[in-house]
Amino acid sequence: MDFLIGFAETLQKSGISVWMQGSLKALPIIESIHVMAVITVFGTILLIDMRLLGLYDTSRPFTRVFGEILHWTWIAFAVAVVTGILLFIPNAPRYVVNTAFGLKMASLVCAGLNMAVFEFTTLKKVALWDKQIPVPLAARVAGALSLLLWTSVLVCGRVIGFTKGYDFSVPKDLDFNFLQSCLECLGRLHLTNI
């Protein structure tokens, strides 16, 4: 645990962390994008889980349902990971001791393991059950576990916001000019590109 806290404190002193702590808008905007991405991951996985549980899309082969939606899940997951890391860094020491955060990460790891086990065992024999209803027990269990674990990720993620708080003081120039700040931001991006 000491190592984890030490690592978290090092992360918190990094350049990107200092930039985010000094910005009024960075954290809220990144957090909102994170929510958009996590909701998309949850919803697209739900479609696959419901097919595994035999509740919907039963007239369609599983590989078709799985194949056409999963790349959207991965794109949203990539966005969720990048924004999640950005949210973690400036508050790292608070996150590592937060129970809801620990539970969210545990649920995420379990969801990943569940998916890996499904892909490397049950999915290998998909030709045998692609159009079959009900799907094999192992696939139904994978679907139910996935539904449970991703719901847990979402709920724990929401609870973090009620238990953590900021580990630094947010700048106080609250009544800034919105339009001017957007133009300044665009100007900075333009200069960076040059």
């Binding site: 809220p28 949850f42 919803g43 609250l174």
Partner: protein
């Protein structure tokens, strides 16, 4: 509006929602899960309009599969959202993000209703609809609109930080 929010905050129901610690996190969790369901249902319909997915299914089948989820999901969202407004009226009603979100929901719900109404004759005759480029653009716009609704929903908590002087929130 501020006076109304202040009055609402002092009502018994608002006091109860605030005083029971688990109500707001639990209702917010249900709200977020339901948004996931509604968003992916609309995304599935939009992707079928765009011809990206479910081309092996008739459009009427796709509509019948997802429309009840959107309709019932919107009812759950209204109920949980309403509970959150009553529980934290000043935070919600004095937020620019909240009102932008409500406006986009009104636009989204009206366009979804018009869309399904325009397809009713085709569904009745059993003909497969051909979607014009304008319809496909509208489908993409709907997905972006709902992403914006999700974004604004989270941004309610940070109204002054995001909007600065444009925010209606009372300053400390």
């Amino acid at each position: 509006m501020f006076e109304f929010a202040q009055w609402l905050e002092l009502t018994q129901i608002s006091v109860t929602i605030k005083s029971v610690k688990w109500i707001v996190p639990a209702v917010q969790s249900v709200h977020i899960i339901t948004i996931g369901i509604v968003f992916v249902s609309l995304l599935s319909i939009a992707m079928r309009v765009l011809g990206w997915t479910r081309m092996d299914q008739a459009f009427s089948v796709v509509m019948a599969r997802f429309t009840p989820w959107v309709r019932n999901g919107l009812v759950v969202l209204a109920l949980t959202g309403g509970t959150l407004v009553v529980g934290e009226p000043i935070r919600e009603l004095m937020s620019l993000s909240f009102w932008l979100k409500m406006s986009l929901i009104a636009v989204g719900a009206t366009s979804a209703w018009l869309f399904s109404r325009s397809l009713r004759p085709l569904v009745r005759t059993g003909r497969e609809p051909q979607f014009s480029p304008a319809m496909k653009t509208a489908a993409m716009a709907t997905v972006l609109l709902w992403l914006a609704i999700i974004f604004l929903g989270r941004a309610i908590a940070y109204d002054v930080e995001v909007w600065g002087g444009l925010s209606f929130s009372p300053r400390a």
